[in-house]
């Protein structure tokens, strides 16, 4: 197979783009698409500091790398979730990545605060991923404020967004549909703008980029991801994509450009106040995270013990 651009021998074929790339041409293609998404969406204004939430996986590390390489002022932020070996390896991957490139990385460790994800899930009697999502939202926002960042960037890729969109449509989650955008303006002056610069970049592309650039990223999945509905949606979308290349790109891009507007009204009804406990923006008197933490304290007190995930 030949590179569509330079006729050199190709390493990667992207059926969605009807193109094949050699390594050099792919690097250019990849970065240009990410940077164009940032510009078109006006995701980051000149001079703004960006908090990049890094998990240790390929997507968020690729995002951090591209932003830093192109002169954006970034702070990497890793939330150590306290999910056994997986969390230990994820944290190491982030630290290695940062030190090899001389990047600033900040880490918050949930286990050290006695609120590891398995504990929070136990307290709330909810799936780990629900508790995890609540914790991530809280600490990402907090870290952005703490480190003077106006923007929070996450590594959600095209496949993540397509799977989420399918899930939101399957359940007619109109509130979620209204907020599923690659650029989310702050609903409160204390909140930061949330952006997803990889929303049109597939995980085949981020995986190829990470491999070609020699990242030592965490390939394994979080143990809680096994059997997650998100993966069922991804598998279904993979089949559609194989039969009709470019479907995911069309699905997500056209939702953002044309579909999302139909759902916006329902989001406009919600404006945030401030959590009386932690001072962060909240839609209720107490934010989701603070009520989760309070639940954990109550359940621990009722049991007269300190439950730990590993105990």
């Amino acid at each position: 197979m030949k590179c569509t651009r330079c006729r050199d021998s190709a390493e990667l074929k992207l059926r969605a783009h009807n193109a094949a790339f050699c390594r050099t041409c792919f690097f250019e293609f990849f970065e240009r698409r990410v940077l164009r998404a940032i510009e078109r969406g006006r995701m980051i204004e000149a001079g703004e500091r960006v908090l990049v939430a890094v998990s240790g996986g390929k997507d968020s590390l690729a995002l951090w790398d591209v932003l830093a390489r192109h002169g954006y002022a970034t702070v990497g932020f890793h939330l150590a979730l306290g999910i056994g070996e997986y969390s230990a390896r994820s944290r190491e991957a982030c630290q290695r990545f940062a030190s090899e490139r001389g990047l600033q990385l900040e880490v918050t460790d949930l286990r050290a605060q006695d609120i590891a994800v398995p504990d929070l899930a136990w307290a709330a009697r909810r799936p780990a991923c629900a508790a995890c999502g609540t914790a991530k939202r809280h600490f990402f926002d907090q870290a952005a404020l703490d480190h003077g960042c106006a923007v929070l960037a996450t590594g959600h890729n095209l496949d993540d967004e397509a799977a989420r969109l399918l899930g939101n449509l399957m359940h007619w989650q109109t509130d979620h549909l209204a907020r599923q955008r690659p650029v989310l303006p702050p609903p409160h002056p204390r909140f930061v703008r949330k952006v997803k610069p990889l929303f049109l970049t597939s995980e085949l592309e981020t995986a190829s980029w990470a491999f070609m650039r020699g990242y030592d990223y965490v390939v394994e999945e979080c143990p809680n991801a096994v059997g997650a509905t998100q993966l069922t949606y991804k598998a279904a979308l993979d089949k559609i994509e194989a039969a009709s290349p470019g479907s995911k790109l069309f699905f997500v891009r056209d939702f953002v450009e044309r579909g999302a507007a139909f759902f916006e009204k329902s989001a406009a009804d919600r404006s945030a106040g401030v959590c009386t406990s932690c001072g962060q923006p909240s839609f209720g008197e107490i934010c989701g995270f603070c009520s989760l933490r309070a639940q954990l304290e109550r359940r621990r007190a009722a049991r007269g013990e300190t439950r730990r995930a590993d105990g």
Binding site: M1, E11, D159, S202, S208, E221, Q230, K234
Partner: protein, 64 residues
């Protein structure tokens, strides 16, 4: 050839497959959901394979 499947860490022996396309079909894996790695390079589906090679099939899916 020796085929390593990551992140599961499974290793299997496959013989008589001549191209990446054939290997993916043999494994029942959809094109575009994995990287096919030989040494330092990624392989496209038309790449030729030989029985004395070691290939890594690495999932590109991230979840959660």
């Amino acid at each position: 050839m020796k085929v390593r499947i990551t992140p599961q860490g499974r290793e299997i022996e496959v013989t008589g497959v001549r191209t990446v396309h054939g290997l993916l079909a043999h494994l029942g894996v959809l094109e575009g959901t994995v990287l096919v790695i030989r040494g330092e390079a990624l392989l496209t589906t038309d790449s030729q394979l030989a029985d004395d090679q070691t290939i890594e099939i690495r999932s590109v899916v991230s979840g959660g």
